[in-house]
Amino acid sequence: MIDHIFFENSYLFWPVVILGAILFGLFIWKEWMLKLDISLLIKVFVAFILIFSLAMIALKPATMRTNKEAVVLLTKGFSQNRLDSLKAKHKNLKQILYQENVPFEETLDLFGTIFILGDGVATYDFWQFNNRPATYLGSPMPKGITKLKYPLENVIGENLEINGSYNNATKGHSLVLQDSYGLAIDSVALLTDSLQNFKLKAALKATGKFVFKIVEKDETGIRVSQELLPFKVVPKTTFKILFINSYPVFETKYLKNFLSEMAHEVVLRTKLTKNRYKFEYFNYSNVPIINLDSITLSRFDLVIIDDMSYKSASKRQKTAINNAIENDGLGVFVQPNYNLFSQSNKEFDFRFEKDGKTKLRLTEYGKIAFDKFPFRFKNRNRFEGIHSSNGHNYTAYKRFKKGRVGTSVIHNTYQLQLKGKTEAYKRFWSDIVNRLAKQKESEVDWKINTNISIIHQPFKFELGISKSNNNVTLFNDRQLALKQHISGSNLWSGTNFPSQQGWNQIRHGNEALDFYVFDTLAWQSLRTSNQHKMNNLYFLSSQHNAKRQRVRKTIPLFWFFVVFLFCFGYLWVHPKFYG
């Protein structure tokens, strides 16, 4: 059915029409001069047809037509059953075997409906389906690890935690986490025959780049399969922490001991009497602290201060502290006491509400009960929780430009140490210090967009640069081309085709991105599962969802030419017979 005609060279429409009209006018004028009879009328008509045909040849008319033909693109791992059902439904179903990285968009244009069966097309072939009606029918999830989550970069002393899902597990088999040489570190038994989530853990004891393994073993301990697990361990960096107390408290004493034993630079200023202080310097060899001015504060990452010290600070000192928070990113932790919770306390922007409970259990700390003031944070937007339970914050902070100010309703944590729960104590304070203290400003921020990079396949990454710089060059073994992001001058993206397996590196100045390149057989199940997800996501988007029923068809110009020739012939021959 012809619904609509349009011209491919529509931009020529008006020039052609004008030219045609002029030509037609000239013809009529010329004929008019000779004689006026019935033959003239016929000639005029023929001339009109001729000029029309000529114009059509120039404008290339086309029609939109409904195309009922369907095609199925068979990708790796397609199910024959599904193909058969599809064939039963669509007569004259054409089949195309998918080949990676081979252009086939023109073929696709011939069909009104495109089905994709199997594991889907590679992400780098998606462009071929832009604005084409395609439906991804998928295939069953492969057997093996289909989900995997673990940090590529870790800090020494922490645990490497690997979370994942195993699809179609074999009951009785087990997954073993092994180190680079094959020494077992952790293991989990596969207990069901369906999907099973698993969690593996390894203590990170040294810095460096490591490649651990996840090995699947059968009941007899024989290796069934093995996948590599690369990750990087970076060293710890220490903080500079300033304590300001108006009287000595146990909490400070124990916290200071913990932090200084962990090699952090700790300075304590405890008030003895008016203008007389006790200064304690641990691992701190810099200039002595005399006044709380902006220079002093700029040397520290975190200030732990009690309510009274802050209140009694001079206006100048308070301004210095606020400036350091907002502009330098200084973190401030306010040690709580009852005054902090009174309604009249307007020094900090904290808002509390009474809950009447003096003991608190936090899920991630198990059975340990923390002592607390009978208050909790009012739920407000700008407060981010550090220790939360049941939707309420018990330790929280608020951002003030670059810096953060936080406090906790939990107190007497030093008693945890006295009770021998040192681990919990250290974790509690590590959480607080990590979240509040000034962070290191890095010049470069890398983001990897390719989960598992495979040799000779595109590895996509993004790069954020702190200072706007139009001259960004990256190297691995040669210079890499980069694309600047349209919205920000310091966001760049690039693609690399790694040519060697193992650890690769992309450098920008002194900063480097380390990534591991696998062989083409690595992590099959995971990659397939990821490809399923990507295909689902891509083909579900609206442009593919609305099935395009009609295809454009150009009317063959040959017929216009034939008509033109006949008309031309008639006009030429006619004077010869009757002239």
């Binding site: 002393g157 004891k205 810095t207 460096g208 008016k274 007389r276 290191k440 702190s466 193992g502």
Partner: protein, 737 residues
């Protein structure tokens, strides 16, 4: 004669059988000898031997050789027998005359010709085969049968050989020196009396103080051989191809040999462990005596016990240390004596049963004296002997005369007045009187009871003084004293008369001044803070006064009953009085303890002046460095990961790092050598080599990783990108707050 002929036949039969047996033995022995040389397996060879013997015997069937067969054989071999040998086997009676004659003839001929009888089965062939096989076995053994080199390497005996590896793997294998012989001798300390022990096994477990001698023989002369242990490197003495060294064992450690040839190339052996055991302490087991023994003065004061003592290398001495204490409190005196056992002691014996009887009298112990003793055993260890002491045992001779009462020991002085002690004595005397009632006359009993009533009164009056009562508020004591002469008092020897006025008079010389003012001055003047008014005396509080009054009324009642000659009825009153007095005494103690701190006087002129000029701020600086024991091992793991990823060569700096890491590991490994020996050896290798396989590096890394403990939880800085996008977002957040 015929018997003689038959005898010859039997002899021949036996000989025949013996030859067959010998033949099978020769075959079997020869073959199994060769087999043994080839396989070196005794059991299989023996089984083989038995099998061959059985086979040959079964084949030849020597038991089937009958006399008849022998006779037939002889007939065949000796024509002179005229086929009549069988006649010798037949009974004479069944033979005809001619046959008998023939039999005689045959017997005679057989006797004559038996030397000519050829042996059917000669031993020549088996002997020859045996000799041939024997020679072959000898030759094979001499030149050494070498099935394959691989086979030899898995032989347990060859595993002990010191194998050296060149540090530079590119070196020609042929140049590598080979340790042809290794010898290790452990000389135990002389006191152990143990013979020297020799071994080719290089892992050593021996006693502290032993001397170890190593001797290595090499196949060629080289520059030097070093023995490297965890702390030091020792050069071995060279004597041509033989190198030796001796070391005195002080601690557990690890060692290896390093061979240096004339070209300077080094070769390293495997790592071996020296595990040191210590001489055990002697053991003592004492039997037959209680931890505490008490003796009455009248008892036989003897303690008898057995001590079972033992030691792993022999005992040098065993004795008893006895300490006798005399007296009490500050006047206590100690006397220590060393006693030997009654059983003779043999020096050097490993196990002994020693007996001892201690006679307390011979130690000149008196009632109230105490004896503490323990057994001490010394072993033969040199230079410093091990000593073990047993628990301490106590023996006391009970002193029935001593006074049990004592004021709390923490008080510097006994401040309690004597008066308080007497109620108890009165009770004791009353109880004694009741007990003696049956044995004494009624008059005596009544008199004694009355006298006790008098004592009770005297006591009550003295307490009355504490209360501020008049002395004459009751019956006059002094007057009655005169009426009751001392000599006639039957209770005199039982009564402890500190309480009576008379006693006071007798001891008046102790406090002359007091006695002069006796009537006017209260005996408590020294203890009272008396503001003239007895009622306001601060010694006792109101409730104490009440208690004292109650006690006095109890005493009244007790006195009444005693005066009525009913001492048993007075006892409950006396007890109540005693309890009350006891309570009062306890309260008094608390009062004494309350005396204490005197604060320094406040300088009024400085008070509240706000002068801080002499007060300074205080400053304290401390470097708390976290010295981790395994810091270098961690560093080595990191470096190994770099080496594995970059595939670069091991540099000198790396080798130094690995060496330090190795030392750190050795410190851990000493407690558990078997677990870490392999790792230690690997890292030792690494600290000497230039190149090694990635596989090996991975292995060492894995082993080291397993050794180091997890780091404690510790906050760490994270990083963020400080870009204008972030600033914009923060700005927006601020604006919308």
């Amino acid at each position: 004669m015929s018997k003689g002929g038959k005898h010859i036949l039997t002899q021949f039969q036996r000989r025949w059988q013996l030859i067959l047996f010998t033949k099978s033995m020769l075959y079997a022995f020869g073959i199994s000898l060769l087999f043994f040389v080839l396989t070196k397996n005794k059991i299989i060879s023996i089984v083989f031997f038995v099998l061959i013997v059985l086979t040959v015997v079964l084949f030849t069937k020597p038991w089937k050789i009958s006399l008849k067969k022998v006779a037939q054989y002889i007939d065949e071999q000796l024509p002179s027998m005229e086929n009549s040998t069988e006649l010798l086997l037949m009974p004479k009676k069944s033979l005809s005359m001619i046959a008998i004659l023939q039999r005689y003839k045959v017997a005679e001929r057989l006797k004559k010709d038996k030397g000519q009888l050829p042996v059917r089965y000669s031993l020549k062939k088996p002997l020859l085969l045996f000799v041939l096989l024997g020679v072959a076995a000898f030759l094979i053994n001499y030149w050494g049968y070498d099935k394959t080199n691989n086979y030899l390497e898995v032989q347990p005996s060859s595993k002990n050989n010191i194998v050296v590896k060149a540090l530079d793997s590119s070196l020609n294998k042929a140049r590598r020196p080979v340790v042809t012989e290794q010898h290790l001798m452990i000389k135990y300390p002389s006191y152990t009396m143990l013979p020297n022990r020799s071994s080719t096994q290089m892992n050593i477990k021996t006693l502290e103080g032993s001397t170890i001698y190593w001797t290595l023989t090499l196949d060629k002369k080289i520059d030097s051989v070093l023995l490297e242990d965890t702390s030091d490197t020792h050069t071995m003495k060279s004597n041509g191809k033989v190198f030796s060294i001796a070391m005195f064992l002080k601690q557990s450690s690890f060692y290896n040999f390093k061979l240096v040839d004339y070209d300077g190339a080094s070769y390293l052996s495997e790592l071996y462990a020296i595990e040191m055991t210590t001489d055990e302490l002697p053991k003592i087991n004492i039997q037959g005596v209680n931890r505490f023994s008490t003796f009455k003065t009248s008892d036989k004061k003897r303690i008898t016990f057995n001590a079972f003592v033992s030691d792993d290398f022999g005992l040098a001495d065993a004795y008893i240390i006895a300490t006798v204490t005399k007296g009490e409190g500050e006047s206590v005196k100690f006397r220590e004596e060393r006693l030997s056992f009654d059983t003779s002691f043999t020096k050097g014996s490993k196990k002994l049963k020693l007996a001892k009887t201690i006679d307390l009298d011979s130690l000149q112990m008196e009632p109230g004296d105490e004896l503490y003793f323990y057994v001490e055993v010394v072993d033969v260890k040199q230079p410093k002997a091990n000593r073990t002491r047993s628990d301490t045992y106590f023996a006391v001779i009970r002193d029935t005369t001593s006074n049990q009462f004592a004021v709390e020991s923490t008080m510097a002085a006994d401040l309690m007045p004597d008066y308080f002690r007497s109620q108890r004595q009165l009770i004791i005397d009353t109880e004694k009187l009741i007990a003696d009632k049956a044995t004494i006359s009624k008059t005596v009993f009544n008199k004694a009871s009355n006298a006790l009533g008098y004592d009770q009164k005297a006591l009550r009056l003295k307490y009355g003084q504490f209360m501020g009562d008049e002395e004459d508020s009751g019956i006059q004591v002094g007057l009655e004293m005169e009426n009751e002469p001392n000599e006639n008092d039957p209770l005199d020897k039982y009564t402890h008369k500190h309480d009576s006025n008379n006693e006071h008079d007798l001891e008046a010389h102790d406090h002359k001044e007091e006695s002069t003012n006796k009537e006017t001055k209260s005996p408590l003047d020294n203890y009272l803070h008396d503001h003239d008014n007895p009622e306001s005396a601060t010694l006792f509080t109101q409730s104490l006064k009440g208690k004292l009054r109650q006690a006095m009324s109890e005493m009244w009642s007790a006195e009444l009953k005693l005066r009525l000659y009913a001492p048993h009825e007075s006892l409950p009153y006396q007890y109540r009085a005693l309890n009350l007095i006891q309570e009062i005494k306890n309260s008094a103690r608390i009062y004494v303890h309350r005396i204490g701190f005197d604060p320094p006087p406040i300088k009024e002129d400085k008070r509240l002046s706000g002068d801080l000029s002499t007060i300074n701020s205080y400053k304290k600086t401390e470097e708390i460095s976290r010295n981790e024991e395994v810091a270098h091992i961690r560093e080595a793991i990191t470096r190994l990961s770099q080496l594995i990823n970059s595939k670069t060569k091991i540099s000198n700096i790396d080798r130094r790092l690995f060496k330090i890491a190795g030392n750190e590991l050795a410190a851990i490994a000493i407690d558990n050598p078997s677990r870490f020996l392999h790792t230690l050896q690997s890292i030792k290798w690494l600290s000497q080599q230039q190149e090694t396989s990635t596989e090996n590096l991975l292995k060492i890394q894995s082993q080291l990783r397993a050794v180091v403990p997890k780091l404690p939880i510790n906050p760490t800085k994270s990083s963020y990108l400080n870009s204008n996008m972030n600033d914009l977002m923060l700005q927006e957040l601020d604006n919308n707050d």
